[in-house]
């Protein structure tokens, strides 16, 4: 018997119509079909979802935490980049 682990997949679930997919967690599966079924069983069995995306974790390119300074700190003192200087009409939801 093979003791090698199945590849790791990241699971994204959309909870309600109109809202975006969010990262729910990860799981192991041999291929994409199995990843979808496993995601259904592991992450949506309490009626959490209406849509699932799975992507093999190795396909995700992540930023390097060591570069956090140059990546993210320059944005910290630039409040004018937030769209907080506008008045939002009440009709606009999900902003």
């Amino acid at each position: 018997m093979s003791t090698k682990n199945w590849p790791l997949w990241e699971v994204f679930v959309r909870s309600k119509n109109g809202l975006e997919h969010r990262h729910f967690g990860s799981l192991h599966a041999a291929d994409a079909d199995m990843a979808l079924e496993n995601a259904r069983d592991v992450y949506t069995r309490r009626n959490e979802g209406v849509s699932i995306w799975v992507v093999e974790s190795k396909n995700i390119t992540a930023s390097n935490p060591q570069h956090n300074g140059e990546m993210f700190e320059p944005a910290q003192d630039k409040v004018y980049r937030h769209p907080t200087f506008y008045e939002l009409p009440d009709e606009v939801k999900y902003m």
Binding site: W6, E37, D41
Partner: protein
């Protein structure tokens, strides 16, 4: 009991799901991987949910003080009328999935017909269960193909499971007295009419899985009459332990 045939007919449906659910529940914490462990126990919970609806209805029909729990937990071995297939052990994952597959194909065909029952409670339970069981069949069929058409070793394990379990499939299509009476009244499903379609579906998925149905024409039966294999006593011991040890206990 006034409606004894209907009562027995309902047990004939529900006992299959109870015992299969109990078998799958044994995998809690013991599945081959975390993901398949959860998948199998999900299926188990689906089945228990369906079983509750059936037993609640049966308890109502019995019209005495018995409850769904009494029916599930306090009968003797000979009073359970599930088919022999569902009591077969989780020998390995090949057996677990093959047993599931052989039952799911039957279960889905059965519920499709039960939806048309003139008994509105039964047809409603059937309609509600269809989506769950459709997923069960998809799940077990996928594993048949994946392992059957997998490696040489996985193919051999699946073929062993089919060779061992196939002999329990013919009983699915045997009619009990309650069956015959209920078919006559338009309430029950005529299981003999499901056999051909069952063979078509099983054959086609097994072909895709590069597996074959064994040639033997010898089949086991007895479960529907309460005559079980040696595994049944052990299942009931575990299933009934809490109620027998602490009568009337509640969670």
């Amino acid at each position: 009991m006034k409606n004894e045939n209907l009562y027995n007919y309902i047990l004939g449906i529900a006992d299959n799901s109870l015992i299969l659910g109990q078998r799958l529940g044994e995998l809690t914490g013991h599945g081959p991987s975390l993901e398949t462990d959860i998948a199998c126990t999900n299926i188990s919970l689906d089945l228990f949910g369906q079983v509750r609806s059936y037993y609640q209805y049966a308890a109502k029909i019995a019209g005495d003080n018995r409850t769904e729990d009494d029916i599930a937990m306090l009968r003797k071995e000979r009073e359970y009328v599930n088919v022999l297939l569902v009591e077969q052990p989780n020998t390995d994952f090949a057996y677990t999935m093959t047993r599931q597959f052989l039952f799911d194909v039957y279960h889905l065909l059965y519920l499709q017909e039960l939806q048309k029952s003139t008994d509105l409670t039964l047809s409603a339970i059937a309609a509600k269960s269809m989506k769950e069981v459709s997923y069960h069949q998809r799940f077990s069929s996928d594993w048949m193909k994946r392992l059957g058409d997998g490696t040489k070793e996985s193919n051999q394990k699946m073929q062993n499971a089919i060779d061992d379990l196939w002999r329990y499939t013919d009983e699915l299509f045997h009619q009990t007295e309650a069956d015959i009476a209920m078919v006559k009244e338009g309430i029950g499903v005529d299981v003999t009419a499901l056999k051909e379609k069952y063979h078509q579906i099983v054959t086609s998925i097994l072909e895709e899985s590069t597996l074959t149905i064994p040639e033997s024409k010898y089949f086991q039966k007895g479960g529907k009459l309460g005559i079980h294999t040696e595994h049944m006593g052990y299942i009931l011991t575990e299933l009934q332990y809490m109620q027998r040890t602490y009568p009337n206990m509640e969670w």
